[in-house]
Subunit: 367 residues, 4 copies
């Protein structure tokens, strides 16, 4: 199966997530990057494109033109990755969707609900796929957890604790990564959107449960910061389960800790991004087990997204690459397990619910 022809919007030299998407796309050899609007700045777009080996005539500075031009080519791109700041997701994705080009978009869906709605309207009528890179759902042991929950390993779920903690915004930062993330107009929110949405998705992905109500208390701890950098939330889930979600970017000692614990009436599961190749499973009344990726007890959903034998750690880039590989499989065969539009819309509803609840002094709201 030849690689899919891939384009990219955003991700010029120096950008973090653009480089991640490119590695993810390359890792399994299912995509060839052949075109890009890597920057709106012509010089930076060109330099970045040449560095990546793009042909001069496929280095664009305007994504709408790019969509049009690529759609017109016999060898035009079949898929585009959108890796801009959030406020451009909808604007960038829409022309490609309209042109029938599949979209792989970074999360969260958009910066505003209006954008989300506009994007959804187009995506629903497009023959092209719209996919969303909720990275943590790409980890093999997260998929193992989901499969075990679905198979009843923990029984009926009672409690879910999920957190995403970082420390890089403990102080005011002027790095390129930070600048747009703390600008409410570009990000649409702070920690809640940037990492809280990942935590929410992880919960949704692993447990399969919807949040029926949440109460959130959001704060901005760094003087002068215009977005939230710490989110506390209590959760009520389908079926009577309870939970808590914590997202923070001001937690010194946490580089990038994402953790989910699921407790049911028959057992518990515990996974943390600090050690992503293991999943702790405790059948109530039995010794705790440390499952290892591709080791004893691994289920098909996990081995399918594993490349090397047990004891050979796979990490963040492999998780990301799993989403790309599943995207390729979905595009090629109609089967593939990767988040999409509905995840994006539900994530926006989660973000909005947190903001609404926090604005109402932590009142319970329904996402």
């Amino acid at each position: 199966m030849r690689p899919l022809r891939l384009g990219m919007v955003g991700g010029g030299t120096g950008a973090f997530i653009g480089a991640v998407h490119r590695i993810a796309a390359r890792m399994d050899g299912r995509f060839d990057l052949v075109a890009g609007t890597l920057s709106s700045d012509a010089g930076r777009a060109r330099t970045s494109g040449l560095e990546l080996g793009l042909a001069e005539d496929r280095i664009y500075t305007n994504f709408a033109q790019m969509a049009e031009a690529e759609a017109a080519r016999a060898d035009g791109i079949e898929v585009v990755s959108i890796v801009t700041p959030n406020h451009l997701h909808a604007a960038a994705a829409i022309p490609f969707l309209k042109a029938g080009i599949h979209v792989i978009c970074d999360k969260p869906l958009t910066a505003t609900m209006a954008d989300a709605q506009a994007l959804a309207d187009v995506a629903r009528t497009s023959p092209a796929r719209f996919l969303l890179t909720h990275t943590y759902s790409g980890y093999a042991m997260v998929r193992q957890a989901r499969a075990m929950v679905a198979a009843g390993a923990v029984g009926r779920i009672r409690v879910v604790q999920v957190e995403y903690a970082q420390d890089w915004l403990t102080e005011d930062s002027t790095s390129a990564q930070a600048m747009w993330r703390v600008d409410p107009d570009k990000a649409g929110g702070g920690a809640v959107g940037d990492i809280g949405s990942h935590a929410w998705h992880l919960l949704r992905f692993v447990t399969g449960l919807r949040i029926t109500e949440l109460a959130a208390d959001m704060s901005s701890m760094v003087p002068g910061r215009r977005v939230d950098d710490n989110v506390q939330a209590m959760l009520r889930l389908e079926g009577g389960a309870r939970g808590a979600l914590w997202a923070s970017q001001v937690a010194p000692g946490h580089d990038n800790t994402v953790r989910i614990r699921v407790f049911g009436d028959k057992g518990g599961l515990d996974w943390t991004h600090d050690d992503p190749g293991h999943l702790w499973f405790t059948p109530f009344g039995s010794p705790r087990q440390r499952l290892v990726q591709n080791g004893p007890g691994a289920v098909q959903a996990a081995t399918q997204v594993s490349r090397v034998p047990a004891g050979h750690p796979e990490g963040y880039l492999e998780a990301f690459a799993n989403l790309y590989a599943e995207a390729a499989r979905l595009i090629r065969t109609g089967e593939g397990d990767v988040p999409g539009l509905q995840d994006g819309l539900d994530g926006m509803a989660f973000i909005a619910a947190c903001q609404r609840s926090s604005a109402a002094n932590g009142a319970w709201v329904t996402p």
Copy 2:
């Protein structure tokens, strides 16, 4: 310095916490157990007393009589440990306090606010000390954390995450330990009082901060259970800090995990009971450090309650013994660092606030 003469109320053969108090009292040789109302059942009281080497005439079956009789003896007890179920704490402690005998009481203070008030009224006018065994404040590395916070190691506190999770009540239990703890009349509450109060105290002890408001959502997950077994709470603390508290007895995989994380504008601390001899300290922007009990960086407050060199683990019984050792020091010298009446009253206010908030659908309340 000769050992103090100690009595005990509760703690007959088979009881968990009574045995713990006895080991704690013995460990450093500062107490001699010489009298007890170990059970209200005469036979069990006698058997238990003889097993512990008590003289026949100092084995009682009524704590009021015991207080009177011991106070009348020249060699009467100087201190009594109260290790009954919660609903008897006040009734048992009061006659000893009235008799001028120091009281070391298990937590929480009482089962009801009325009991707490009655006990406080007596304690405040008694020449005797009233002390409360909030075990986790006895750990050396918890004291290290408190001292470091006080010295500004983490800067201004922004976020505090505290949890206490167990799994032993995942299913309905008829063990002696469980029976009174799930009886609202005897316990006064479920997880919130039994372990939530420990989590609260740990937060208060380490950070020195009061909770200004909390919003709690308490649940009873096991069919037929009459008390809460899972508590979620969001916290607002003095100075604008935020936090979360989670206490659960239905979390399979957690034997007895107590964890506190404190994040400030200059650094973070992380301590867990799963590895109590270490404290993680991250000065923001520097590598994470794993401080070890009695090792490099240990402060006086921690070394003072350490018995063996770094690398020789001390545990739960040593933490408990530290409270007894400090109690002896306080009684002998007027100096000593052990929780007392005010901790007990504040803890009751915390429990009541959780109950009040949860009954009001998670409304913010002030403890």
Copy 3:
């Protein structure tokens, strides 16, 4: 059962291991310390004895006199703890054994083979017990490991890796603890005797296997040091198993790491003193299990030496106390699981074999 009357030789104020023995003796209430030759210095002996509450007439400065005097008293000691530097073990223990007083001696047995032989000659003909505090054999999870090995959980043993690493002698030290340990006349050896003997015993205790041959390479890394501070050894064990032993006191980062791994044809076990309440068990082909003290899967040999429920860490002092408790049980009932003379002699043979092999440039020798 009343406590046994205990005496002590060595362990004056400031000594490390004497204080440990006293806590261990006190913890379970089975011994009362009533007499001691705590120091050969009269002033220090007296001060130490008074601090410990000994009667003036039972504070001795000569252990032979003490043995005679105590044996002559109706209320004389029944057991004595020998906690001197190694070169005095035999001299101190012999008069008590001759007087029919049980001896609990710190390890290694003696500083020289001649001493060991002299001690053994007396011990074998004495009605009194001779017991040896190989601390690590007192840990519940070490006993769990031994029981599992004996029950075939790992199958036929193939490989055993054991290590004991510290860092406190990385630099020249003039602390009281260090001074006699680096004096070949007082210690009889360096790391090999002080900690290597513990590692050896742990291997012997858990696996039940004898070393048939060993090849050792011992070094003294600190300039001017007169004893070994680093020991490498390859081991050949009964039944064809192979192994390695490493003991080092110059390993920065290791406070007091004692670790044993046992690998058989059906599974593996892994225990480390850095986390002594857990034992890792891997049945080959199944997920790894983390057994917790007093938790699911705990065997009688382990629960019998556990005091508190799963999740309440016990540590070094409890392990030591387990040896005292078992000693009391052995003395009282004839049953009890605590190392004795043969362990001591075998340990001396191990030490001597390491020294002999190392002197012969690592030739294989039989202990």
Copy 4:
């Protein structure tokens, strides 16, 4: 910079290490796989080649023909990866080297010393590079360790403990991976070559020290196995340091544990493949530090081979890709840090020394 044109020998469908090499080559976009002798079986070679998108005329079944044909093409490969069983390394590499095509070869160098010599003779006179994939030297935190050792962070090295433990050969296996590895004619040795050589290289890479003498005891634990599956070795290193090396494939519970500990007179380092993104550093007398990849304290040698921010785990495939990236850099610019011929020859000397020593009952030999 356009990607280098890459060929491959070995690595047909289902092979483990061939797939790893391909992912590593793809990850950073510096190689394009365009030709291969993926199998000597014509059918399998063709199927594998088509799956990988090779042109029909560049799918070979004979590596010598491939070298000739590719050298003759204007667009011929510039680099070839040799991923066959060990006994074919020399035969496969030689024609490419003679044709001036760079070689990236899996380890160990060859199955026999004669092969190694033949290969070296050609490599030394070829204008092409010969590079060797000692994977663990590709990890960022291993490079961090090396740089810290070189900068004096641990002072003068005294002790080095290195191990590589797996469990997959605990029982007799007939998997394709196992079959050639336990065939002495194809592998040239068992655990000593397959994983012991990695452990040796890690030691050499991090410490920079040569082994002056070693004493080895090799065993074959599984009935009927014709190669060693467990290796114990004591090491004497340049400058008087001592060490131990353990390599085992029969250690249940170890998936693929590679660990190195380096102890000097000023501090210690500890790295394990079970958690490859962290490096423990203990400056003697100070708290232990856990360095994280791309976090505070990271040196240039480590950040240069890191792709994502601290807390985003990179693993085995990234380590492998680092070797490919450095190979590309070396080929393009003459600068690049990747093992080569001398590492291969030294590794062969290490393997031979272990075999010689073990055959001589553990006598000291010089590699």
